[in-house]
C-alpha cells in the first residue's frame, strides 16, 4: 500500500476506521470531440482523492459536467482510469485483469439514472435480474429462479411479475428492477448514479427510503451521486463536492450544512430553495457570474476562481490543495470558510 505517512488527503483520512474503497490521485481524460487532428483533452476527473468507509453512504454532488458520473464509472471500472489508483479493500483495482477483475465485479455494482435506458426491453424481468447470476456462474435453474423471486420481494416488486417486460412497469418500478439486478450477486459496494432524478416527485421518496432500508438490511456501502444537494445530504453520512473534475470539499453531512468551507459549497447551498415561504423571504442566493467553464480548457490554479465571489490574485496563480481544515473535513481553497 502506498499510504504516505503525512496523511492529509481524504483518501487517507485518519477519522475513517475501515475504508472499503480508496481513490488515489485518480485521473480520467477523454479526447475531445473535434476530429483526429484535435489534440484537445477533456479533463473530466483530474486528480481525485477519496475514501469510502465500510457501511457508510458517501454523497458526491456537483453540477452537470463536473465529472461526477465519470468518476462513478471509473470507480466501478466501467471506464478505465487514465492514471491514479483505486483500492477496493487493499487490492489495487487499476492493476486487476481477467478472472480477478471478474471476481471483484461481483462485489461492486451500479444503479443507473435512467430506468428506461438501462434495462433491455427484449428481456423479461426474470432474465434481467438473473443475468448476473448466469454471467458469474453463481447459480442456474431453480436456484436462480428462487433468488430472483427473493430479490423482487426485497425491492418491493410482486415476484409473480418475473415474466413481464420492462415496458409493463412504471419508472419507479423499473428503478426497483435495476436495484434488484444490482443486489442479486450480494455485493458490498454500490455506486448509485442519480438514481431518482428521472422519477416523478411522488415516487422519489419511495426509492430513497428503499435504498436506506436495503443499506441497513445488507450492510451496503454506497457512493450516491446526484446534482441535488438536498437529496445528497439527506441520504449521505458524508458529502464530497465536485467542481470541474476536482473535489473541492469533503466532510460529514451535518457539519457541511452548518458550516460550508469552500465558497462553491456555500454557493450551492444558498442556491437551493427550501419549502418554507418565511425562510424563502429571507434567503439571498449567492449568484455566480458566468457559466461553468469548459473541462477542455479549465481555468488555471483554482478552477473556481473565474466565478468565485471571494477570489484573490493568488487563486489564479497557485492551486489550493484539498487539505485537512478540521477533523474529517477537507477543502481546496486559500480562503476556506471566509465566504
Amino acid at each position: 500500500m502506498s499510504t504516505p505517512a503525512a496523511a492529509t488527503t481524504p483518501a487517507t483520512d485518519p477519522t475513517l476506521k475501515n475504508p472499503l474503497v480508496r481513490v488515489v490521485d485518480l485521473v480520467k481524460h477523454f479526447p475531445a470531440a473535434g476530429g483526429l487532428l484535435s489534440r484537445n483533452i477533456v479533463h473530466a476527473v483530474d486528480g481525485v482523492n477519496l475514501a469510502i468507509e465500510q457501511g457508510e453512504t458517501l454523497g458526491l454532488v456537483g453540477e452537470s459536467g463536473c465529472g461526477k458520473s465519470t468518476l462513478g464509472r471509473v470507480i466501478v471500472r466501467l471506464l478505465p482510469a487514465t492514471s491514479g489508483h483505486l483500492y477496493y479493500k487493499d487490492t489495487d483495482l487499476t492493476a486487476l485483469r481477467g478472472e480477478k477483475l471478474r471476481r471483484m465485479r461481483q462485489e461492486v455494482q451500479m444503479i443507473f439514472q435512467d430506468p428506461y435506458a438501462s434495462l433491455n426491453p427484449r428481456m423479461t424481468v426474470g432474465d434481467i435480474v438473473s443475468e448476473p447470476l448466469r454471467n458469474f456462474g453463481v447459480s442456474r435453474g431453480k436456484k436462480a429462479e428462487q433468488r430472483v423471486q427473493e430479490m423482487m420481494r426485497v425491492v418491493g416488486l410482486n415476484p409473480n411479475f418475473v415474466n413481464r417486460y420492462p415496458h409493463e412497469f412504471s419508472g419507479g418500478q423499473r428503478q426497483r428492477i435495476g436495484i434488484a439486478r444490482a443486489l442479486v450477486l450480494d455485493p458490498a459496494f454500490i455506486v448509485a448514479d442519480e438514481p431518482i432524478s428521472a422519477l416523478d416527485v411522488s415516487i422519489q421518496a419511495q426509492i430513497v427510503n428503499l435504498l436506506e432500508d436495503l443499506q441497513a438490511k445488507f450492510k451496503l456501502t454506497y457512493l450516491f451521486i446526484a446534482h441535488d444537494l438536498s437529496v445528497v445530504r439527506h441520504i449521505s453520512d458524508r458529502v464530497a463536492v465536485m467542481y470541474l473534475g476536482k473535489i473541492v470539499e469533503v466532510g460529514d453531512s451535518e457539519s457541511i450544512r452548518a458550516k460550508p468551507l469552500h465558497p462553491y459549497t456555500k454557493v450551492l447551498q444558498s442556491s437551493v430553495p427550501v419549502p418554507d415561504p418565511d425562510l424563502e423571504a429571507e434567503r439571498k442566493p449567492i449568484l455566480l457570474r458566468g457559466d461553468i467553464p469548459s473541462p477542455v480548457n479549465p481555468p488555471s490554479a483554482c478552477r473556481f476562481h473565474t466565478r468565485c465571489p471571494i477570489a484573490q490574485k493568488i487563486c489564479s496563480e497557485v492551486e489550493p490543495p484539498l487539505e485537512r481544515k478540521e477533523n474529517g473535513r477537507y477543502a481546496a481553497c486559500h480562503f476556506a470558510g471566509q465566504l
Binding site: E63, S64, S170, G172, D200, V201, S202, I203, Q204, A205, Q206, V208, N209, E212, H227, D228, L229, S230, V231, R233, H234, I235, E254, R257, V267, L268, Q269, S270, S271, V272, P273, V274, P275, D276, P277, D278, L279, E280, R283, P285, L287, L288, R289, G290, D291, I292
Partner: protein
C-alpha cells in the same frame, strides 16, 4: 396542459370541451383566430422548460427576438431592431453586444432560457406563464433565473403563473398556490397557508416527501405509495384515494368538492388533514 389551454395551444386531437377562460372580461375560448393571435403575442408570454427546442437553431438569437417583437406589430421593424440589445441586457446576458449575433447552440442552457425570457417579455405582456422554466438547469443557474423572473414581473407589473413540481420554488416565488392531481385542483390558497397548514393529503405528503437542504438530523421521508393514475382509467370517487393513507369509505365512491377550509384556502377532500390524529406516524406505516 392547463397552461396550453389558456393560450388555446392544445395539440390535436385534444380540445377544450367546455368551460370558459376569462382574461379580464374577454373569453379566450370564444376568441377569433385574429384575436387569439393578438392575445398570445401582446398580453401573454410563455416560457417553456427546454429553451433549445423553443429556439430556431439556424437563426441568430438577436434576430429571433426582433422577429417576436415585429410579428405582433407593436413595434416597427426598426424599433424592434433597436430594442433587441436592451432586452438582452435586461435579462442579464453577459457581453450582450457580442452575443446578439450568436446562434442558440453557442449559448449555454441558462443563457438560452434568458433569451427565451427576453423574447417573451419584449412585448411587455401582462401575464407570464413559466412552465418548468428551470427544471433543465443547474441549481446555481436556476437561482439566477428565478431572481430574473421575480425582478421582471415586478418591473412589468405582470402576473406570473409558475408551473412546477418543485414545492420549494413555489415557496420562493409565489403568492398563491394551486395543487393539481389527475386533472383536478385538489388544493388552493395563499402560499403561506398551503405550506404551514396543508389540508389535502396529497399536498401534505408532497411537502414531506422531499428532503430539505436545511434538514437537521435525519427524518425518514414520507413516501406516497403507488403511482399517479392513468388519465384514461380514473378511479371512482376521489382520484387520490388509491394512494391516500387517510382515506375513509366515502372517498372510494364519492368525489369530494373543492370547499373552503379556511378563509381563501380550498381543498377537495372528505377528511382534511386537520382532522387526522398523528398523521406523521400514520404516513410511515
Amino acid at each position: 396542459m392547463t397552461a396550453l389551454s389558456l393560450l388555446r395551444l392544445i395539440p390535436e386531437p385534444g380540445k377544450i370541451t367546455s368551460g370558459r377562460i376569462l382574461y379580464g372580461d374577454k373569453d379566450v375560448v370564444q376568441m377569433t383566430d385574429e384575436e387569439i393571435r393578438e392575445f398570445r403575442g401582446n398580453e401573454v408570454a410563455m416560457i417553456f422548460q427546454d429553451p433549445m427546442t423553443s429556439l430556431n437553431p439556424v437563426l441568430r438569437v438577436g434576430f429571433q427576438i426582433k422577429e417576436a417583437m415585429a410579428a405582433h406589430r407593436r413595434f416597427t421593424s426598426a424599433q424592434a431592431e433597436e430594442r433587441v440589445l436592451p432586452m438582452l441586457q435586461r435579462v442579464r446576458i453577459p457581453a450582450a453586444k457580442e452575443r446578439v449575433r450568436d446562434y442558440p447552440h453557442q449559448f449555454s442552457g441558462g443563457m438560452r432560457q434568458r433569451a427565451m425570457i427576453a423574447m417573451g417579455v419584449s412585448n411587455e405582456p401582462s401575464l407570464l406563464i413559466a412552465d418548468e422554466p428551470t427544471t433543465a438547469l443547474d441549481v446555481t443557474v436556476q437561482a439566477s433565473i428565478i431572481e430574473l423572473l421575480r425582478d421582471l414581473s415586478r418591473e412589468l407589473r405582470a402576473a406570473v403563473i409558475l408551473i412546477t413540481h418543485n414545492m420549494a420554488l413555489v415557496a420562493s416565488l409565489c403568492n398563491r398556490v394551486i395543487v393539481m392531481y389527475s386533472g383536478r385542483i385538489v388544493e388552493e390558497g395563499p402560499t403561506r397557508a398551503i405550506f404551514k397548514n396543508p389540508q389535502h393529503p396529497y399536498t401534505w405528503s408532497l411537502l414531506r416527501s422531499m428532503p430539505r437542504v436545511d434538514e437537521v438530523g435525519h427524518e425518514r421521508l414520507v413516501s406516497i405509495r403507488g403511482l399517479p393514475p392513468d388519465l384514461s382509467k380514473m378511479p371512482p370517487g376521489c382520484k387520490f384515494h388509491p394512494r391516500c393513507r387517510f382515506r375513509i369509505d366515502k372517498c372510494l365512491t364519492e368525489e369530494p368538492t373543492l370547499d373552503e377550509v379556511d378563509p381563501g384556502q380550498y381543498a377537495r377532500c372528505w377528511v382534511l388533514m386537520k382532522n387526522v390524529k398523528n398523521p406523521e406516524a400514520e404516513a410511515q406505516k
